[in-house]
Every structure is written in structure tokens, then in C-alpha cells.
Symmetry: C2
Subunit: 476 residues, 2 copies
């Protein structure tokens, strides 16, 4: 893993940190959930109605209680993940309501799409988790969607996944299901197995749904990402330093609450801040500002001693074209080289989170593989790798293609693309497929060949019974 | 400008450096040009035939004579460029024989293409130079091609450009022409105005054409990039550390010769090393290994105290698709964040240097602009930028869109794309143009609106007379 690089000076970090604490203390944050207000009041914070004014020292003291890293446990221990430090965790896009197809078409996402994206993530060697809410399956009733989504992750893969944070009750369902998978609530309380996404409502609010989720996860020691999405220019100031200060204040408020509920709760500092495209008024995520917010957030996470979430293969494009490629690579590369640990939205996203695309998933999977190879850097550990002997043997004007040293090393030293075309023009022009078209063939092949890992039938039965029972209750 | 980041540890740098010196001392380098052999002999290096064995201390001593940075002078002083340190210089692709069009077609490059690419670079605010050999204009006789190419740069733009290095005589022609443009050879000897590209022949050779060029530039104090392109797996070892050692040995040999000819000659450490795609046997440049070689070379340049050349918007794609986008962004982003100063091939390249594309030029120009914005980082210098007051004014749940602060700041804080689409799906689907198609409209618009800067008629006359006279001599 390469050294991480910084986009802010120490002086800039301090200025922004102080600006955030001043915002928390003097402007305050609104929490529209009484149990959260009660917890913060009990911990001595000044409260007016639903507005909480935070004491700066208290915030710093609470943030210190959050662990610098933690392990997220998978059904298959080979897929356990350390979150924090040098680690990087990739997973698919999150929350898109639409699916865009290779020919430029658009449709609502379904549960079948959901299963497919979980399988693609399960099959990928670059995706470390299958994520959560990989699309919004609009053909499933809202009341039980969280159960169906969890079930998809449980039966289609043995990697870690994310649970619902849509209110206290749904969050508890996700936690119960995960407990059944791992052998009980006590087991996962000891060894966290679930992580969820808690978003603020910028500027300076948290709603009751998210706060319920936060409290359910914190109470049971499960992990959570606490994220702020400042749209600089609309939900936040149009200056980068101002927007970052606002984001930072919101995330600190969330982390503080989680630590009040249960000190030591594993939290991830989450940034998804980006800009408003001022000509359309919409969110824009495939840009240098997003890359900067992400890189700066990684630095703030190191400053606060907690893992970081940010970035992904992010684009504003509507089709899998050059823009989709360069925007996604910029954001994911900046994410990965500046030290983000937890990367939601690594693969599949089009049009600022509005859509997932199967083809884009395959493109981003290739991008992720390329970046992981880059992060591996140079191996200088042996004479074999330093290659003096073979250079001497070949000498000036010679050739390495037929050397044993070459055959022995190229497979481990060189990244092997799954999607990128490296042919001559003549080779390529036999079918002239662009990446979008090649990606379509590729995902169809991967899905056709995918076999989900075995799940213990007794466990499966318990999980299905739980879901059947809860569905009846929730749909009544 | 952000801090540069390292991909090698100090220990790795030292190991590779020593490996290179051992290669130079014990295996040696072939120079197929007698004047170069004479110079190196005179400086006490051991020579056998055309093979030179370098003394390690002597190499280090010579490399120390190269300046850490230098200024390249343009006809328009506003376009003067510092090369070295924190600076970054972008210019178009170099040397491609073909042009690929937006519909997947391929043709030989012409002088008309040459002029067009120089104009596009002249018009771009992200290209700092118009470069050199922006394509190989195959409709111009080889003997006088260098004159026509220089003329195109001189009349179509007032930015810096590159000269021929194809043998001593052509190199002298380029230098004479540049001297006419700047008011005499004495003027440019004092203030270098021309730079050329010197390539080794890997492994461990330099040919007479390049050595003639090197010596002509060094004698007149003009600048040069000394570059090695190791194709790991074919012209070099299949290990990254071995290939980098070989590249480093070749570049050090070239720098040493240039400093022997004229101590203090401005040289740029050039890397274009990449890998061989083992399934096709061809060069592959749009990959993490290329990005690593480039990043490592920037680090070696800092180690030796000379400016660095590397990278660009590099891809193996044959059309301007997602692959072209993600590969080009990866290499140019790694190039720009790890400290490369001089970036040949920033814009236009397709299929591992084989082709230029107008559409790709526009895509890469956008990528370059995005990266330059990223490098600008955060401005935390004023209360205005920290935005506390506007955050307080808006408060929890408010909106920033209508604030004066927003209108005042967004134009300077946010990068404004020229090519990227940020519309809704419905807006985009009115014409459903992909980036390749949009880029076609864009370059046609830029060329239609381009007016070359004025050139003093007396200077123009002298330059045209020189070219006419030399053409007669060379074609006789």
C-alpha cells in the first residue's frame, strides 16, 4: 500500500476544525428525534427545543472514544474486513432508483436487479463487500423492502453487507437477521457483522428515521458510517473550505451522539460532499471538487483517528462513455491514494447516484482492479525482482521476450485487464465494440456462471421464518 | 499545488539507483555515434568499440551539473514556462502516424491535421505548450518535415514548442529557426527557447540520429528531454523494479553525455516505460504499471535534482469510449499528483501512441482542466472562504442558493466543464450524445473560432526565407 497523500496543510486542517466546532457550539444542530435529544441532554449538552449546541471539548472527548479501526465479520471468515488504517474496502453503488441500460434506456430498478448486483459483487475479486441497497427495488413494498434486501445479501454471497438504517424498527430487523446468520446477538455484539449508513440532512439536521437507525446500531455495537453530503452552492456554502467545515460539523455531531449512546461504537467518518452544478441546479459528483472533498475527508479522519468513508466510481454521465470513465477514475483514484477506507459506490453508478448500470459496474470493477494494482507499488525485495542478471544476460540491443525470467514474472507483476482492449486497430475493428458493448457481454457471462456459496439449511430456515413472520406483521 | 506523493520508499530508491549504476558500470551502454564516443572517452570513461562503461562517481558528478529547473522562453513572454520544482507543463500527444475519427475510421495523419492540433493546443487554456510532432504528417517529404512542423508552431501559436531531434542537421535547423524567432542564437543561448525529445533504444543503446540531436541541443544550450521507454516483458525485464533500473540506467547515461558536451545543459529526466501486453505482444500504456513507472520516475527526478517528464492522457483504446476515459485519467492523474513537470502526450492519444484523435484531444483537455483544479486544492485564506457567517445566516434546514455569498464564489471555486454532461436523464436523452459525439462538435467549434496570434511580418519573412532556402538544399 502506497503512502497516502494530503491535500490540506496542518494549518488548513486546524482552521477548518475550529470553524466546525464554532458552528456546533454557536449555530447548533437539529435532531428531530426525542430519544436522541434525551441522550445529548443527559450528557450535558445545551438543548433548545430540538436544537443542540455542542460543547467543543465534549465533542473532542466523544470522538476520542471511537475506535481507530475495527473488524467487520463475514459469514465466511475469509471475507472478514478490517476497516481503518491501511485498509481499503470496495463495494457497489448504493440507493439508485433507476437502471440505465447499454442502449441508453431507463427503467425502475427491481428486486431482480438487486439480486444481480449482489451476485456481480459476490463474483468480483475487487469488491470486498456486496454493499447494501445496491439499487432501490421499487417492485417490493416499502414496509418489507429491508427484509428482502438483507435476504439477497445473505443467500447470494458470503461477504459482509450493509443493513437498513431506515428507522429504529427496520434497523433492529437487519440486526436480528444478521444475528441469526452469525449465531446470536451476543456473537455479533462481540464481533460486529453489520454496518449501516447514517446521513445527515444538510445543513445541520438529522431526521428521526436516521437517528432511530443510529441508536439501534449503536445499542447493539454494530458499525455505522456517519456521512454528510453538502451540495456546495445549494445545501452548503459555495466555497470549498466553508462546505468542508459544514460537513465536518455534521459528521462530528453524529459521531458524538453514537458515542454517547454506546462509547466505543465503531463509526466511520463519511463524506459525500460535492458541488451543485449551477447551470442545472443539480448535484454533480464526477468532478475535481468531489475528489478534493473526499481526499480532505480522509485527512480529517486521520486527524480524528477514525476510519473514513468516501468516493467511489462517481460520475454524472448518463451512459457508459468516456465521461463515465474519466470521472469515475478521478474520484476513485483520489479516494484510494489519499487514504479512504470504506468506499460505497465503487461500482455501477451513473448520473449522480440516480442510476445503476450493469455495464458501468463492469467498467468500475476494472477501474478498481487497476487502482488496487497501483497501490501495490514496486516489489524490490529479491534479486529476481531487481533483474540485474537477466539484464546482463540480454545486454544492449537484446530482447527479453523469450527469457525464462519473463515467463516467470509477468503474471504477478502485470495487471491483467478483464475489459480493456489492447489489440491493434485491425484486431479491434473486426467488431469495433466499445467498452460499453464489451461490458454488456461480460456481465452477462459473469451472471451466467455465478454460483452462490452454500448456506447452512438450518440457518437459512430460521432466517426465512423470521422474514415471513416479520413480513406478516409489517404488512398487516 | 498539492504535495507530491511517493510510490517508492527511500530504501527502494537506493536499491534501484545502485542497480542502475552497476548496469552502467558493468554492462555498459552502446552509442552508435562517434562524436559521442569521443566526448565520453575524453571525459575518462572506459570505451570498447561503441560500448561505454560508466564510472558511478562520474555519473553522479555529471548529473549534479544539470539544473534543477530552467525557464523555457516563448515568443509571447506570458507563455514562458518554468520547468522543474512545483511546475507542470501540459502539451498534446507526440509522434502518432494515424488519425482515428469519431466514427471508428483510421487514416494517415497529414500536415493539415498537424496545423489543426497545434491550433487546438494554442486555443486550450490547459495546454501550456503546443508540443512538437503533434502527428507525423506523412504527406510531407521526410527531408523537410521538420521545417514544416516548426513553421506550424511558429505561425499558429505564440506558446513554446519542441524542435526536431532527428540527427544533428535537422536539430540545427530547428534551433536556427527558433533563433530567428527570438532575435538570434545568442539570445536563445542565454534564454533557452527550444526543447527536444531524445529517446534511448532500449535495452541500453542510443542511435546516431538521437545522439546527433542531443549534441546539437547541448552545444547551443537548448533543453532536452532524455527518455527511456522500457517495454517490460520485451525490451526490458518483466519485473517492475528491474525495468525501472534499466530505464534509470539509460536516462542517466544520456544526461551524463549531455553534461559532458556542455555542463549545465537543461535536461529533463524522461520516463515512458510501460509494459508489454503478453497476449498480443504489443506495447500497453493505459495501465497501472505505466502510472507506477511515471510516479516512480518523478521521485527519481527529485532524487537526482532534475525536472521530470512522463505520463499523459495515455490509453490503448481505439475509440473515445469509457476505456479511453479511465485509462487516460489514471495515468494523467498519477503523473500530475506525483510531481511530473513536463507532460508530453497530455491530449489526443489513442492506441499506445499509434493515433491521434480530435475527439480524444477534447476529452483529455477536459481531464487536464479537472486535474489542474484538483491541484489547486482548498483556499482557507479568508473569512469569506471559511463561510461561517453565511452558514450562521442560513442556519439548520436553510438554503444557500439565493445567498450573495454563493453567487460571488461559485465561479472561482468550482471547475466549469467544457465537455462533461451534467443534465438530468431527460435533458440528456433529447439527443443522447455520448462524449465522443459531443467532443466532435466541440473541436469543430474551437477550430472555426481560432485566430492565430500576430507574428511580426519582418520575422515571418526571415523565417520563410530560411525554410525556402533549406528546403531547396535538402530536397536537391
Amino acid at each position: 500500500m502506497l503512502p497516502k497523500f494530503d491535500v490540506l496543510t496542518d494549518e488548513q486542517i486546524n482552521k477548518i476544525h475550529k470553524n466546525s466546532l464554532k458552528i456546533l457550539q454557536e449555530i447548533g444542530v437539529e435532531f428531530s428525534y426525542d430519544p436522541a435529544i434525551e441522550v445529548l441532554k443527559k450528557h450535558g449538552q445545551r438543548v433548545e427545543g430540538h436544537r443542540v449546541f455542542f460543547d467543543p471539548d465534549f465533542v473532542e472527548e466523544m470522538v476520542e472514544k471511537a475506535p481507530a479501526e475495527f473488524t467487520l465479520h463475514a459469514r465466511n471468515p475469509e471475507h472478514n474486513l478490517v476497516c481503518g488504517g491501511e485498509s481499503i474496502i470496495y463495494m457497489p453503488g448504493y440507493g439508485a432508483p433507476f437502471v440505465y441500460d447499454a442502449d441508453g434506456g431507463k427503467r425502475d430498478a427491481t428486486m431482480a436487479d438487486y439480486d444481480n448486483f449482489v451476485k456481480l459483487a459476490g463474483a468480483s475479486k475487487n469488491m470486498h463487500m456486496t454493499g447494501g441497497t445496491v439499487v432501490e427495488p421499487t417492485d417490493v413494498e416499502d414496509e418489507i423492502r429491508h427484509l428482502k434486501m438483507a435476504y439477497s445479501h445473505i443467500i447470494n454471497s458470503d461477504k459482509c453487507f450493509m443493513g437498513s438504517s431506515s428507522g429504529y424498527e427496520h434497523a433492529r430487523d437487519s440486526i436480528e437477521l444478521t444475528a441469526l446468520l452469525h449465531g446470536g446477538l451476543d456473537v455479533i455484539k462481540e464481533k460486529p457483522a453489520l454496518i449501516c449508513l447514517i446521513n445527515s440532512v444538510t445543513p445541520l439536521k438529522y431526521d428521526d428515521r436516521m437517528l432511530g437507525g443510529l441508536m439501534a446500531y449503536a445499542e447493539t455495537g454494530q458499525a455505522m458510517v456517519i456521512a454528510s453530503l453538502v451540495m456546495a452552492g445549494s445545501t452548503g456554502p459555495a466555497t470549498m473550505a466553508g462546505a468542508l467545515s459544514l460537513q465536518n460539523a455534521e459528521v462530528l455531531a453524529g459521531i458524538t451522539l453514537a458515542q454517547c449512546v454506546n462509547p466505543g461504537t465503531p463509526v466511520v467518518y463519511g463524506s459525500t460532499s460535492a458541488i451543485t452544478d449551477m447551470s442545472t441546479g443539480s448535484l454533480s459528483i464526477g468532478n475535481p471538487e468531489n475528489a478534493l472533498f473526499t481526499s480532505a475527508s480522509a485527512q480529517f479522519s486521520r486527524f480524528y483517528g477514525v476510519p473514513c468513508r468516501g468516493g467511489g466510481g462517481l460520475t454524472d454521465a448518463k451512459t457508459v462513455d468516456a465521461q463515465a470513465g474519466y470521472e469515475s477514475m478521478m474520484v476513485l483514484f483520489a479516494t484510494s491514494t489519499t487514504g479512504v477506507n470504506f468506499v460505497l459506490h465503487t461500482a455501477g453508478i451513473l448520473q449522480y447516484y440516480m442510476a445503476m448500470s450493469y455495464e458501468k459496474f463492469m467498467v468500475d470493477d476494472e477501474i478498481a482492479g487497476m487502482i488496487l494494482r497501483y497501490l501495490d507499488g514496486f516489489d524490490c525485495d529479491s534479486d529476481e525482482k531487481m533483474a540485474y542478471d537477466v539484464i546482463e544476460k540480454v545486454g544492449p540491443g537484446g530482447h527479453f521476450l523469450t527469457q525464462k525470467h519473463t515467463r516467470k514474472n509477468f503474471k504477478t507483476e502485470f495487471f491483467k485487464p478483464q475489459l480493456s482492449d489492447r489489440q491493434s486497430f485491425d484486431g479491434w475493428s473486426k467488431d469495433s465494440l466499445d467498452t460499453n458493448q464489451r461490458a454488456k457481454l461480460k456481465w452477462q457471462e459473469v451472471l451466467a456462471n455465478y454460483t452462490p456459496p452454500e448456506l447452512d439449511p438450518a440457518v437459512k430456515e430460521k432466517i426465512e421464518a423470521f422474514i415471513a413472520n416479520r413480513s406478516k406483521e409489517l404488512l398487516k
